[in-house]
Subunit: 325 residues, 2 copies
C-alpha cells in the first residue's frame, strides 16, 4: 500500500441499475465497508437524482471517517461512456433516456473527488481483474448474461474502450445472418436475441411449439415463461429445460470461438443470472467452443464463472473503476 492508499484507503462504487442504485464503500482488498441504496427512478431530472444520491452517500461516508478517506468514485451504468463520463441515451432511465448526461462530472462536483464511469459489463471486467477470478490475467473477456448480453474485454491488461468508448458489444455480434431473431437493437440475429434472459424465454416458447417433449413448462402460459421458470424446471431435471440451456450454451460457445479468433483470451468469464445453471450452461458452452474454434486455440482458454459475490458483484465492479483513476 502506498502512502496515498494509507491516507485515502477507500473508493465508492455505484451500481446504477434500471430500478435500484446501490452504493458501497470498498477497500483495496474488495471488502465492502458500508453500503446504501436509493431508487434510480422517480426524479424529475438528473440533478435531483444526484442530490438524493449524495444525501444517502454522506451517511455511509461518515461511517468510514469522512470524505477525506475516499480516493475516488467509480460508476457502472447502462450506456456509460468511459471517455466522457457520460450516460448516453439510456433507454431505461427516466432522467437519461433522451440525451447525454454528464453523470461523472455531476458527482465529482458535489463530492469533491475524481469520478469515473463506465458501462456495467466493463465495470464487471475491471471488478474481476481487481478482486475476482481474473486477478493477474492480461487477456480475458467478461460476458454478462442478464436482461441483455454485455461484455467487457481486457487486452494487454487494459480495458478495451475502442475509438469512441463503446467497444465490447459481444451481445450485438450477428450470429445468424439468415432468419435471425429480431433484436432490441433493430437488427436481426444478434447473440443477445438468443442468450439474454428474454432470449432464453423465447427459446423455451420455440421448443414448446416445435417439439412434443413433455415438460413442466407446459403448465405455464407460453407468454408468461421467464428464464427463472426455465431455471426452476431444469433444477427439477426437466429435459426440455436442459435442452434450452444446451441450445443457449451452443450459441454462446460459437460466439466465444469467433471471439478467440480476434483476441485469443486466456479466459472467458461469465457473470449474471444465467450462470446459476452451472454445468447445465457451462458444459455446452465449452463443447461448442471446442467444436467451432480454430485448431490453434482448441483447449487453451479457461471457462469460468464470476468470482465476485452475488449482489455485491456489481458494486465491487463499479468501485474497481475508481481505483483505475
Amino acid at each position: 500500500m502506498n502512502s496515498e492508499e494509507t491516507l485515502k484507503p477507500y473508493v465508492i462504487g455505484l451500481d446504477l441499475g434500471g430500478t435500484n442504485s446501490v452504493f458501497g464503500i470498498v477497500d483495496s482488498r474488495g471488502e465492502i465497508k458500508a453500503t446504501t441504496a436509493i431508487k434510480t427512478q422517480g426524479y424529475d431530472n438528473v440533478d435531483e437524482y444526484v442530490a438524493a444520491s449524495v444525501e444517502a452517500l454522506h451517511v455511509i461516508i461518515d461511517q468510514v471517517g469522512g470524505i477525506d478517506k475516499i480516493k475516488a468514485m467509480g460508476i457502472g451504468a447502462p450506456n456509460g461512456n468511459y471517455y466522457k463520463g457520460t450516460i448516453e441515451f439510456a433507454p431505461n432511465l427516466s432522467w437519461g433516456h433522451s440525451g447525454i448526461v454528464p453523470l461523472a462530472e455531476l458527482f465529482s462536483k458535489k463530492l469533491g473527488i475524481p469520478v469515473a464511469l463506465t458501462n456495467d459489463a466493463n465495470a464487471a471486467a475491471i471488478g474481476e481483474m481487481t478482486y475476482g477470478v481474473a486477478r493477474g490475467m492480461k487477456n480475458f473477456i467478461v460476458i454478462t448474461l442478464g436482461t441483455g448480453v454485455g461484455s467487457g474485454i481486457v487486452v494487454n491488461g487494459q480495458l478495451l474502450y475502442g475509438s469512441d468508448g463503446f467497444a465490447g458489444e459481444l451481445g450485438h455480434v450477428i450470429m445468424r445472418e439468415e432468419n435471425g431473431r429480431s433484436c432490441g437493437c433493430g437488427r436481426n440475429g444478434c447473440l443477445e436475441a438468443y442468450c439474454s434472459a428474454t432470449g432464453v424465454a423465447r427459446t423455451a416458447r420455440e421448443l414448446l411449439e416445435t417439439t412434443q417433449e413433455p415438460s413442466l413448462l407446459r403448465e405455464l402460459k407460453p407468454e408468461d415463461i421467464t428464464s427463472l421458470d426455465v431455471s426452476i424446471a431444469a433444477g427439477k431435471g426437466d429435459k426440455l429445460a436442459k435442452d434450452i440451456y444446451e441450445f443457449t450454451g451452443e450459441m454462446l460457445g460459437e460466439a466465444c470461438a469467433n471471439f478467440a479468433a480476434f483476441s485469443s483470451p486466456e479466459a472467458f468469464i461469465f457473470f449474471g443470472g444465467l450462470t446459476k445453471a452451472g454445468d447445465l450452461i457451462m458444459e455446452p458452452i465449452k463443447r461448442s467452443y471446442n467444436e467451432h474454434v480454430l485448431r490453434i486455440f482448441k483447449g487453451k482458454a479457461k471457462f469460468l464463472i464470476s468470482g465476485l459475490e452475488g449482489s455485491s458483484a456489481a458494486v465491487l465492479g463499479a468501485s474497481a473503476v475508481g481505483w483505475e483513476i
Copy 2:
C-alpha cells in the same frame, strides 16, 4: 531523434514469403536505404536458410556503414509467434512446416542485434502505424487480402497478440454457420473461404454456374480462373466480375460490422492484391458495413486502403517491428 537513433539510425526488415525473402534496411522515416532478396525455399534446414540470408544481408549492411548502424531486425512471417520469436508449423515453408523454428534467435545470434518476429498481417499493422495511413491512430485493424485473409489489430496503441501470440485471425471468423464453404483450416464458413484470392475465384465459378450473365470470364476454363482474371475482367467493365466484387465486399462489410462490436476501431485498413480493385470492392464494403453495424457505430469508422507502397510495403511493415523492440 534520440542519441541511440543517431548512432543506430536503421532497422532491417525481412518480408518472409512462401517464395521470396525480401530484406530492406530502413530509416525511421520509412525510407528503404538498401534492399536484397533470396529464395525462401530450397534449403535442407533452417540453418542453411539463415546462413544464406546473412550472406546476402552483409552486402547491404556494408552499404549503409556496417552492423553498428543497425538497431534491430524485424521479421514478418507466416505463422509467426511474437512472444516466442518462432515460426510454428508454417504449411508453406519446406524448413518450417513440421515444427517450431526459433527464427528470431537464429538471426540474432548470427547478426548480434535484437530480432523480433511477428506474423505478416501484424507486421502490416505496425507498418501502417509507423509509416502509413494509421500514423497517430490508437484503435484500428489492418485486413490483408491475399492468398489468405489475415488481420493485425491495434487497440490502445498496441498490437493485440492475445494470451498466446495468435490473436487477430479475422480470416477465420465463421460467417456462415449453415452451408458454409469449406476452409483450409478444416472448418466451414470462414471469411477466408469467401474473401481470399482463392475465395474470389471460387465466387467466380459459382456465379458462372448459377447465373446466365454474359461475361469475359466464360472464355476461360472455370478451374483456371484466378482473382487476377476477375480483376482484369472488371477493369474492362464486365458486369459479372463486378458482381463478384460486390459479393466479396458485402461479406467483408459484414465481418467488419461484427468486428466493430468488439473493438470499435477508428479505421479499417485494407492491404493486398484485392485492394487494387479500388471502389469496386471498397464501396460494397462500406455499404454492407453501414447496413449491418450496430447503430451507435454507423458512419463513424474510416475505410482506407494501405498507405504503404506496393512491393516494399511488407518489408516496411517487417522493419517497423524492429523499432518496437
